[in-house]
Amino acid sequence: MRTLEGIVTVVQEGRFLLTTDDGSTHLLILSHAAAAEPHQLAALQRAQSRVRATCRPAPDLIGWVVRRLDVLEATA
Amino acid sequence: MHDMPGPAQGGSAYDGPTYYDRPSLKPAPFNTTVVGGYIFLAGLAGAAQMLAALVRRARPPGFRRVARTGHALSLLAPTLGAGLLIYDLHTPQRFANMLRIFRRTSPMSIGTWVLMAFSGSSLATVAADWLGRVPGLRWLRPLGRAAELPAAVSGAALGTYTASLLSATSTPLWAATPRALAVRFGASSVASACAALSLAERRADNHRTARDLDTLALAALGVELAASLACRRRWRAVGLGAAEDTVSGKVLLEGGADLVGTALPIALHAAALAAPPAASRRGSALGSFATLIGSLCLRIGVLEAGDATALRPRESLGFAQPRNLPRQR
């Protein structure tokens, strides 16, 4: 498990792109066990919210599986 | 346009060009043990409830306990069976979404509502059995009696809709023979319910009733055997014969379902009918156990062998040839 902090920039279904402070962008997939639902992601993207994702590397995929998503601040 | 070698006619798998022999279908993402276990439990519970209702109606002597046992067995479906179904969902916390709609083209949706109806009516029959004598709860008894018919009808559907669930897919082995598979599942459900009820009667030293149940099991096993042969014939005819050559096909379908689950109990029960009642109790009990094991093997085996045909392009493409299309009405 590791954590990624950044801004939600693109959302598609349960997948989203997270741009971290160093400018790199990661593809994250919301796990079925996460306490967040795909439809909540769109609001995070619209608000350009800063989030912290607790995730692990996805097997055989270039991406991360998110187990936990914390909204740090909702900047407008 | 078809200058490449064409498919072989008749019973062999497709031998023309494929896409690097990669699968052209995706296998069902079901856990075969979990879903096979559910199909087995649903069949057992549904058929037990149906037999319980028949016993209540015909009132043959010596069968008082059978109805109560049948009602109790029916609880396997709403409890353990439903638990297995939810466990197999990949987003299990959304299991209630199954109840959003009814879709008549989806046996999964039909089955959800059959299971709901069965669970409700079965709970009523059990409540009447267990609590009907408690003062203040006597109203449960007419309720339980009223629930017997819906429980039996939904039980009959529960014991066999799972075959339709498998046939209404594109997995070749399941799609090839919707009718024979349904007969096979239905007969296996009745046989397993008879076996479970018979074992319960033998435990209570009620061997006469157990013998009658074994006779009924014998009839159901005969139907199952005929359906098994019909399935195999059809699979061979459409080039799916190799599915039975997989390890799971050989062990579960031929060994488990056909030999242990059908042929062995048929032999044991038939021998028991010919022999004097006391001499054959052990054999009959063994036959009942074998029937239950075979019924479970049948469901897991059909699931496994089906997945194997989906993964093999020569079989799936061979099945999806125009000559295998249903005849136009």
């Binding site: 439809h39 | 490449m4 023309g16 015909a58 999964m108 897919t169 598979l181 007969v183 009658d212």
Partner: protein
């Protein structure tokens, strides 16, 4: 704009409305942009799909990349398949366009070593969800997560799907797939979000040779018929449609495929079933045969128990 530039613009038949947007940077999405990119205005209530002409495909995989980019799909199957130029392997939960590469073999089963001038021994085909008229995945879905959109396409609603997986074996083309990570079924949405915004689907817009053509299905079907005639007159005897109404690929009650193909070899070569069927047609036979068995055995039991009165 200089005279030569204006002339060249006319020469490639650019939509007249394109002249309204001469700049490189735009303030927002061009209204009804699809009119400019593919000559089709996207309106709810009409039927949209793809016509994939495999004779035009050059195997560039721009469609695969555009699809992954737009839909934020992760790269999957990291590694080499070891066959042809196809490292994608097939359609999956994370791959909604798949370019198949088939190296034609000669009559002896070996690779041809000589070739007519300007001919290629490679067949390339960009596979995708067919968005069937009678979609088996949709008909199988017990939650209503799979639905038919206002554009006559078939989409999985991610907020409803509970990952039962029944749509996966239902699909006769092996398209729908379950992602075990998020526990939901996924497949091509025919860029539902783009259609709602008046944009052509990403794969079709990215296709540099117009092998993937997006448009209204009846119009595409007419165009495809013409293309088959043209190819046959040019000597491509094997050119035929896969997924045209009632024809190859749309058999067994499937109706027609909204995403259909022009192939030059038999469909199995591309991994496509020549005669798929509609699974829902097997629901009633299965249920009735099963219920008849239960009824028959119940009658048998009644006869046995009734006759056994002692």
């Amino acid at each position: 704009m200089s005279v030569t530039a204006e002339r060249s613009v006319q020469a490639v038949h650019v939509h007249p409305r394109a002249r309204d947007y001469p700049g490189s940077f735009l303030d927002g999405v061009i209204p009804n942009e699809s009119e400019l990119t593919c000559g089709t205005r996207i309106e709810p209530g009409k039927s949209y799909g793809f016509f994939t002409d495999t004779t035009l495909c050059i195997g560039c995989k721009a469609c695969e990349v555009a699809c992954k980019e737009w839909n934020a799909l992760p790269a999957d199957s990291v590694g080499f398949t070891g066959m042809s130029y196809d490292n994608t392997g097939g359609l999956s939960a994370n791959t909604w366009r798949h370019v198949a590469f088939i190296e034609k073999r000669g009559p002896t089963g070996t690779r041809q070593t000589d070739q007519d001038a300007f001919q290629s021994g490679w067949l390339m085909m960009s596979d995708v969800c067919k968005h069937c008229h009678n979609a088996p995945c949709l008909e199988a879905c017990p939650t209503g997560a799979l639905f038919r959109t206002e554009f006559d396409t078939v989409v999985v609603q991610q907020d409803i799907c509970n990952g039962c997986g029944y749509c996966v074996p239902a699909c006769p083309f092996g398209v729908v797939d379950l992602n075990p990570l998020d526990g939901k079924a996924h497949k091509c949405t025919l860029c539902y979000d783009r259609l709602k915004g008046g944009l052509e689907p990403a794969c079709a817009k990215a296709c540099p040779t117009d092998s993937i053509q997006f448009g209204e299905v009846p119009e595409l079907q007419a165009r495809a018929e013409q293309r088959v005639e043209q190819l046959q007159s040019l000597g491509v005897a094997g050119a035929h449609l896969y997924g045209a109404p009632g024809g190859e690929g749309a058999t067994g009650g499937l109706g027609h495929l909204n995403a259909f193909f022009l192939l030059t070899e038999r469909p199995e070569t591309y991994g496509l079933p020549p005669a798929p069927t509609r699974p829902a047609n097997r629901v009633a036979p299965g249920l009735l045969a099963g219920l008849a068995t239960m009824a028959g055995l119940a009658l048998g039991a009644l006869a046995l128990l009734g006759g056994g009165r002692r």
